[in-house]
């Protein structure tokens, strides 16, 4: 996979969770605005954290496995995609459970 290794993991996450939208009718992607608004705060916070952590050397990325494209300051594009893809997977999982367990209330029911 080389430089696309990190990207490939993220694609795997999308495929591994995406079927829920069809089979369990999670209707998460269809509620695009709500999904985007749920992710934005997380995306902003995690990006700021990532800028700090990378600058302090908490973690680094093997240049053999990332595209080398920097999205903001010192943060690789893969990290930004991670902060979007993983929240999507989380929401799909929640709605997947709800699809099969509609009586388990969370707080947005009428």
């Amino acid at each position: 996979m080389g430089k696309f290794s990190y990207i490939a993991v993220l694609v795997g996450c999308l495929l591994g969770s995406g079927w829920l939208e069809i089979v369990l009718r999670t209707r998460v992607y269809r509620r695009t605005l709500r999904l985007a608004l749920s992710i934005i705060p997380v995306l902003v916070i995690l990006t700021i954290w990532d800028i700090y952590a990378i600058s302090q050397g908490h973690w680094k990325f093997d240049p053999r496995y990332v595209t080398g494209i920097i999205a903001v300051v010192n943060v690789p594009i893969e990290e930004i995609l991670f902060f979007i893809v993983i929240p999507i997977c989380a929401v799909l999982t929640l709605e997947g459970v709800r699809s099969t367990k509609p009586k388990w209330l969370v707080g947005d029911e009428k």
Binding site: V9, W59, T93, G96
Partner: protein, 131 residues
């Protein structure tokens, strides 16, 4: 601050925001823990690949465990790691999941695309058919 410290602060903040700011208290709901137990399983796999394959490498000065070794894999379990990844990743992941799901429910509660609701599943499990 170390990764350990930031991750702990993030997890505590996420729970506090969920309870006192968004007022969803998702961490007190059964559906959250059912979902989270599925999420954590797949997080261990995803993180295990990212860390075990050396795509992301950690500094021993900033985590409970030691440096990601240069030419070999970190321990699968032990030295502050679970499935190759630092335990801090699980704390970070918990914060991410709590905040995201709490936001999702908060928006639904406020009427932002509350519908269409999820389900019903396209295929019923065989043991539930014809009832």
């Amino acid at each position: 601050m170390t990764y350990t410290q930031i991750a702990l602060v993030a997890a505590v903040l996420a729970v506090l925001i969920d309870i006192y700011v968004l007022r969803i208290a998702i961490t007190k709901k059964r559906i959250f823990w059912a979902s989270y137990s599925i999420i954590i399983f797949f997080q261990l796999i995803t993180n295990g690949i990212l860390t075990g394959a050396g795509i992301v490498e950690y500094s021993g000065a900033k985590i409970i465990g030691s440096d990601t070794p240069i030419s070999s894999r970190p321990p699968f379990i032990g030295d502050g790691r679970i499935a190759y990844a630092p335990v801090e990743d699980l704390i970070f992941g918990f914060a991410l999941v709590v905040l995201t799901l709490s936001m999702w429910i908060w928006l639904g509660k406020r009427g932002v695309q509350r519908e269409p609701l999820a389900g019903p599943p396209r295929f019923k499990p065989s043991w539930k058919r014809n009832r």
